[in-house]
Amino acid sequence: MREENEPLQKARYLQGMWVFLGSEILFFSGIFLGLVVYRHLYPEAFAEGSRKTTLWMGAVNTFLLLASSWLIAEYLEKRREARQTGARMPGHARLWIAGLLGCGFLILKFWEYGEHIRAGLFPGSHWHAASSVHAQLPLFFFLYFFVTGLHALHLLIGLVVLLILMGRKVSEKKMDLLWENFGLYWHFVDIIWVFLFTFFYLGAPR
């Protein structure tokens, strides 16, 4: 990378990432819009669905993602500082911990899925939630499994990219750009979860 092209190259990388995130925002927005409309149509069923989710697991998962986002942001902060002062680049400890927190999120999420499936809350032939009084409860759980599953897939992709970047051997300047873009993606996944947690877990008083 030539010296005079650095700012331009950085702008191009970031703009490309923001265009990608913009498309992701529109993709998830359509889903959120569907959630809002269905909640408006069937408020009692969606409130019952919210009460059937495991609040502590959702709260712990939110904590795990927020903590991982903090570690990624702090890593990038230290990296920028090192770049400005000429000090040594920060080690990968924060990234490893952030990755482990991400894994913790996925483990807890799939454990929660297991609990719901055992409770008969998986829509389709496995559905046997006898206590349900609302016909639209399966719709809530269909959306719950679909949207949180989609989010988990995004997180899994983030974890794979994190591993790839940690093992990558290219110039530090190039790595700066890649890490900045990775940080944007990771925080975006965090923001999506913040809204999903609110919608699915905090939808009704307990």
Partner: protein
């Protein structure tokens, strides 16, 4: 503001969101929760995604997607909320 301080604020907001479930002061809990979630996402966007330090063109690019998002919600809400059976 450092990343650590933003994290502490985010955790406080998470605690507040959980507390709203126990305090029946508000008729629509979800709206309150979504307000807190929006505040959290603004903090993450401004400080973790660095929107505060970015060039104005990049900021416009990011805000542009929010503009299209608002159009999507406003126009759809205008349709659904003006359908007569919604009020039956």
């Amino acid at each position: 503001m450092t990343a650590r301080r933003v994290f502490y604020i985010l955790i406080c907001l998470l605690g507040m969101a959980l507390l709203t479930l126990k305090v029946p002061l508000f008729p629509e809990w979800l709206l309150l929760g979504l307000g807190i979630a929006t505040l959290k996402s603004i903090l993450i966007g401004c400080y973790y995604m660095d929107l505060k330090r970015m060039s104005s063109s990049m900021r416009w690019l990011a805000l542009g997607s929010l503009f299209w998002l608002s159009l999507l919600f406003i126009l759809t809400a205008a349709d659904y909320l003006t359908r007569p059976y919604f009020f039956l």
